[in-house]
Amino acid sequence: MQTQEAIVQGLAAEPKLNYLTNGWTIRSWLLTKDHKRIAIMYLISVSVFFFIGGLYAGAIRLELLTPASDLLESGTYNKVFTQHGILMIFFFLIPSIPAILGNFLLPLMIGAKDLALPRINLLSLYIYWAGGALVLFALMQGGVDTGWTFYAPYSTTFSNTYVMLVGLGIFINGFSSILTGLNFIVSIHTMRAPGMTWFRLPLFVWAHYATSLVMVLGTPVIAITILLLALERVGKIGIFDPSIGGDPILFQHLFWFYSHPAVYIMILPGMGVISELISNFSRKKIFGYEFIAFSSIAIAVFGFLVWGHHMFVSGQSMYAGLVFSFLTMVVAVPSAIKVFNWTATLYKGSISFDTPMLYAIGFIGLFLVGGLTGLFLGAMGLTVHLTDTYFIVAHFHYVMVGGQVIAYLGGIHYWWPKMTGKMYSEFWGKISAMLIFVGFNLTFFPQFILGYMGMPRRYAAYPEELQVLNIFSTAGASVLGFGLLMPVVYLGHSLIFGKAAGDNPWMLPGLEWRTASPPPTENFEKMPVVTWEAYEFGEESGLDLEGARKRDAEATAAT
């Protein structure tokens, strides 16, 4: 097989048409049905939103350097944190791994030519652009100040900002999410190559299946909630207005019915990436494959039963709070199972500390902190003290940034050679991974303490005695911001000056590594027939990986 020879000779494949060179016109990109091109277009778009959301974050941290509301007055500050939240959650975190890495890798990992519904995939991208453009337009007009949670009655009755326009943008964007999830579910069921049984699938695929279930079942509810919000703004009927017989908590029920599973949409793909990274960079079969696979599904299902833990002090009944609190404890169990299994995989593995592995190990520690603090918040007694403080902000940033963004960066670095055919600078990769880790902790750990001491969230001003910790946090944010910008530079540099990567630069058994880097448009020259289990590092994988590694080590030693 061509890949086998390439590994043996350590050469890249002969130059032939790959998905990047197959058509040079803008038309061939904008009207493409190729999932890989769609993934690259998502990569560019999502990065733009991440950057803008990051600018808003910078504004928040700059304002919070001083106790007084001096840089931004309260009304503007409200807009800044709202827009930071909306852009980061809806336009960065939710699409990031599924739309970029999922789109690119899913067909490769299951041995298919493309996803089942390529035109729906393209439609998904167009819808993302439409929703994003609307939101950006609304932000330029003056933005929205309700908090990304849009709570009634402020959003329905009192806010004078562009609630409808931003709501419409998010509504439209939701369909992008739904169509991506739909496409993944269909593809995983019907497009697997011969021999690729469910339990030979990489855990990345299982994670995306679970994510897609949540996308399809949950996203329509936020769509209808936004519709109701818009109708209420126009009609002023009072379904969320207690003076006319409505209930503001009804809005919260409907909103969080989606928005809690949404956080699982954000973290599950990240966990899928981590499963790949831990196993592959320990060169060891993952420990407890079925447990991790089923725990992904369990998280997706149980995630729908806990939304009330965002509403403990809202006025919902105490007994509802009890039920949601108990179930919150239950939903943590599958996540813990995964962390144990990853750790067990590391044990006696042949660990190599490449950049993706640094991110993976960082994830485990940071997700642990984030997840545990989530349990603290799920306990009703403690949550009354900590609600709407910086403890919550720290908690969700630990899971979303320390978890998801770290996993996203790890995945981008891991599969960069496959997507672009180039290797990036390992030195700068490691430096930036460590800067991000240090900067992140410096930014958000003080916020746990601040929250415990009572600093409320979403306030531009705070008591003077809390300033020192806020300064640490802002200092950390600058380090984090710098660390996040570095990959843009060295990854961009690698596109032009990077070493050619070869089909299988990490020498791994996964199906995506058995085709050219970058892959041809139809993914595989010949339809693969899978006869090996997932994460098979020995001879059963059909590749002589040990031999290749020995030769590679000798070649490096000789130079």
Partner: protein, 98 residues
């Protein structure tokens, strides 16, 4: 499925509609128990929906996955209804700290 069978299902749906209309006009709440009218109306609606799903939408002859999807979506609806209503039905009972 033959044309005749489609017409039979149609007939069942037609009759179901008439029945639900007529029953709604009679007071079952007084005769039996409070909520009887609602229960009957919903039961007939569920029955009609099942006929449409199984026979018009061919789910009876479809794969297990399709059957599971149809059932699962109602299960998820049930989650949304039940967990929202558990708040409303227990309001006013119990206070924090007592």
């Amino acid at each position: 499925m033959s044309i005749a069978k489609y017409f039979i299902v149609f007939g069942i749906l037609f009759v179901g509609t008439i029945v639900t209309y007529v029953v709604a006009l009679t007071d079952l709440d007084g005769k039996f128990f409070a909520g009887a009218n609602t229960l009957v109306a919903l039961a007939i609606a569920f029955f009609k929906m099942t006929c449409v799903i199984l026979f018009f939408m061919h789910v009876y002859w479809s794969s297990k996955l399709i059957k599971l999807s149809a059932v699962a979506s109602f299960f998820w609806l049930a989650i949304m209804f039940a967990y929202t209503m558990q708040d409303y039905l227990t309001r006013g009972t119990g206070v924090f700290g007592q």
